[in-house]
């Protein structure tokens, strides 16, 4: 657990020295630029783009799980709302795509307002209530044929534009945009974690009753985390929609968008910022490059096995494991 000189019940964020963080950011940037510098094929960039989309959702999921203390099984709800909102706002209202994407994030956050009653629920009840919302949204999108095209799908909406000579719709452009978006989300997450809000949230996670006594409005803070997580997920849903160029309810609200981020975040370590991002990239590439070659039909069985092994052997994820090996601070919250 936490080092002895701190209050063991309220772990503090890493008090890393500035140069360390700078080195970390630098290393990440170099890593992100590598595929482009090495001239990776469109195929590989395509895989990385999908992996980064998952990274974004995994980060949003982990934000809710780590800071809000809530495990969601239905992030597909926000992903789908974001995807449809952006497609419709850009196609019907003629709003530029790059503006439609954050607006779609807002729509996803708005949809999360409908879920505020779930904040009173604990553990599995919250997880499955959000799943119910995802189902409900999928059916509503199927039924609202006038707006969404229903089950037949939606495909006439603009793709990503060209900005300053860089075609964001190209593989390289989309990749760059997604790297930037994931980095932005990670910075936002880190900033919140270090703020007073983050401290309060960590305290809530340890003892909700105690913090209530000290005057922390836990429900309000949790609500903000839910809205923020929904916003982030919605933005990545919107990005994905413009990259793929086709939407149907079964796809936009697919359980995949709920499940893969969980696997990724758990694998990488959901109590860290970099864990979900790295976890998503490793898991997705492993699934697509290795597992598929080994077992053509049913390769997800390997994902299941990886997840079981992680929960049993390294519940803090890969980063937790690396840290322990490296003899660093073993605490999960660092």
């Amino acid at each position: 657990m936490a080092p002895a000189h701190r209050d063991p019940r309220i772990p503090a964020p890493a008090s890393g020295k500035p140069w360390r963080n700078a080195a970390l950011v630098g290393a990440c940037l170099v890593l992100a630029a590598l595929p482009v510098l090495l001239g990776a094929s469109n195929y590989l960039l395509g895989l990385l783009i999908s992996a980064l989309i998952l990274s974004g959702i995994a980060l949003a999921w982990a934000l809710l799980g780590n800071l809000g203390g809530m495990v969601s099984f239905g992030h597909a709800a926000f992903f789908g709302v974001g995807a449809y909102a952006s497609a419709l706002i850009s196609a019907r209202l003629g709003v530029p795509v790059l503006l439609a994407i954050p607006l779609a994030g807002l729509c996803a956050a708005l949809s999360a307002l409908a879920m505020l009653p779930t904040l009173r629920l604990s553990g599995p009840y919250f997880a499955l209530a959000i799943l119910a919302y995802a189902q409900i949204f999928r059916i509503l999108a199927t039924e609202a044929t006038g707006l969404t095209g229903g089950g037949a799908g939606l495909q006439r909406f603009p793709g990503l534009p060209t900005i300053l000579g860089l075609d964001l719709g190209s593989r390289t452009g989309s990749y760059g945009l997604l790297v930037a978006m994931v980095a932005l989300s990670a910075l936002a997450y880190e900033a919140i974690r270090r703020s007073h809000v983050g401290t309060a949230l960590r305290a809530i996670a340890h003892s909700e009753d105690a913090t209530r006594v000290v005057g922390v409005n836990s429900v309000l803070l949790k609500a903000w985390m839910l809205l923020l997580s929904a916003f982030m997920t919605g933005v990545f849903g919107a990005l994905n929609a413009h990259i793929i160029g086709f939407l149907e309810p079964a796809y936009a609200f697919s359980g995949l968008w709920s499940v893969m981020p969980i696997i990724a975040a758990i694998f990488g370590g959901y109590r860290t910022v970099l864990g979900p991002i790295g976890g998503a990239i490793v898991i997705y590439l492993f699934d697509q490059l290795v597992a598929k070659d080994l077992i053509a039909v049913g390769h997800q069985i390997l994902l299941g096995l990886v997840l079981v092994v992680m929960v049993l052997i390294a519940p803090n994820g890969l980063l937790g494991l690396l840290k322990r090996r490296a003899g660093g601070r073993p605490h999960a919250d660092a």
């Binding site: 799980g65 495990v71 009653p117 779930t118 009173r120 629920l121 604990s122 553990g123 599995p124 009840y125 997880a127 499955l128 209530a129 799943l131 119910a132 919302y133 189902q135 409900i136 059916i139 509503l140 199927t142 039924e143 359980g255 499940v259 969980i262 696997i263 758990i266 077992i295 039909v297 049913g298 390769h299 997800q300 069985i301 994902l303 299941g304 096995l305 997840l307 079981v308 929960v311 049993l312 519940p315």
Partner: protein
């Protein structure tokens, strides 16, 4: 119109009977261990495929597969339990993830072993129509409903009267006190988990006799079972049964009075309403939270 509604009520009650069978196991392991077994639907499906195997290989009635299903599902349940038992930190979260992962493994294992074709019983007797006044059903559904009733009573009796049943209730209400009374919580939980597995076996075989199965079905079964557990409230066996009937009837009435595209919507809305407004479920003995 009356005929339509009568048939909807009847169909709803019958399908609710099977929902109950699927949910009983989940409710039991949840009540006993405070753990939602997200692989429960896949266990049910595993049993259904045992029935398929026995029927196609031996030509026997699908219900002859129950011993095999019990064996297979109990084996998987035991392994699952041992894994859950190894979890040391964040038991609630990690058990959710772990059982979910086992669900993924089982779904894909079934896919690898049986391909993705749809399967269902070929027995003509089970598919025969039964008429009761102006309402209709399949023989298989009537049998499954009867089985569900019997198992519910048996489970209720077991929890009330048998030593292990009482131990399960004791551990679930106060683990520490139960330990002081000389009950081994670990072993009790294992027994509860195995009984839940046995219930899943019966549910799977019954499902095969009256519906269509395919590898991707497991997750949907788990969700249905969880919805029913919430409707019922923790710790109420008759509640599970009534909750399942309520869900079945709601779905059937939605199809009849509104649209078949809204069936799942109705179920989910019912789930959320009960979740938000009735903290004890409809029939629960204890509060869900706190």
């Amino acid at each position: 119109m009356t005929d339509l509604i009568l048939q909807a009520l009847f169909s709803g009650v019958l399908i609710g009977g099977v929902y109950a069978l699927v949910a009983l196991g989940l409710a039991l392991s949840f009540g006993a261990m405070r753990i939602i077994n997200l692989a429960h639907g896949e266990l049910v499906l595993l049993a259904a495929y045992c029935a398929y195997l026995v029927e196609t290989r031996t030509g026997l009635d699908p219900y002859a597969a129950i011993p095999l299903a019990l064996l297979v599902v109990a084996g998987v349940s035991a392994v699952l339990f041992l894994m859950i038992d190894r979890i040391r930190q964040d038991r609630e979260l990690n058990s959710l993830i772990l059982t979910y992962a086992v669900g993924i493994i089982l779904t894909n294992a079934i896919l690898l072993a049986f391909a993705s074709d749809v399967r269902s019983t070929a027995s003509p007797t089970l598919q025969d129509a039964v008429t009761l006044g102006s309402v209709y059903a399949m023989t298989g559904e009537i049998i499954a409903f009867g089985l569900s009733l019997v198992l519910m009573v048996a489970l209720w009796w077991w929890l009330k009267r048998s030593w292990y049943g009482r131990a399960v209730r004791a551990v679930s209400s106060n683990r520490a006190a139960a330990t002081l009374m000389g009950i081994s919580p670990g072993r009790t939980e294992l027994v509860a988990f195995l009984v839940a597995g046995a219930l899943a076996s019966f549910a799977g075989v019954a499902l095969y006799t009256m519906s269509v199965i395919q590898p991707a079905l497991g997750h949907a079964l788990t969700v249905k079972a969880f919805v029913i557990t919430v409707l019922a409230g923790v710790g109420s066996i008759p509640g599970v049964f009534l909750g399942a009937l309520l869900l079945g009837v709601t779905e059937a009435l939605t199809v009849t009075l509104a649209s078949s595209a809204l069936q799942d919507l109705a179920g989910m809305v019912l789930f959320l309403v009960v979740l938000f407004l009735l903290p004890n479920g409809l029939f629960g003995a204890r509060a869900r939270r706190g």
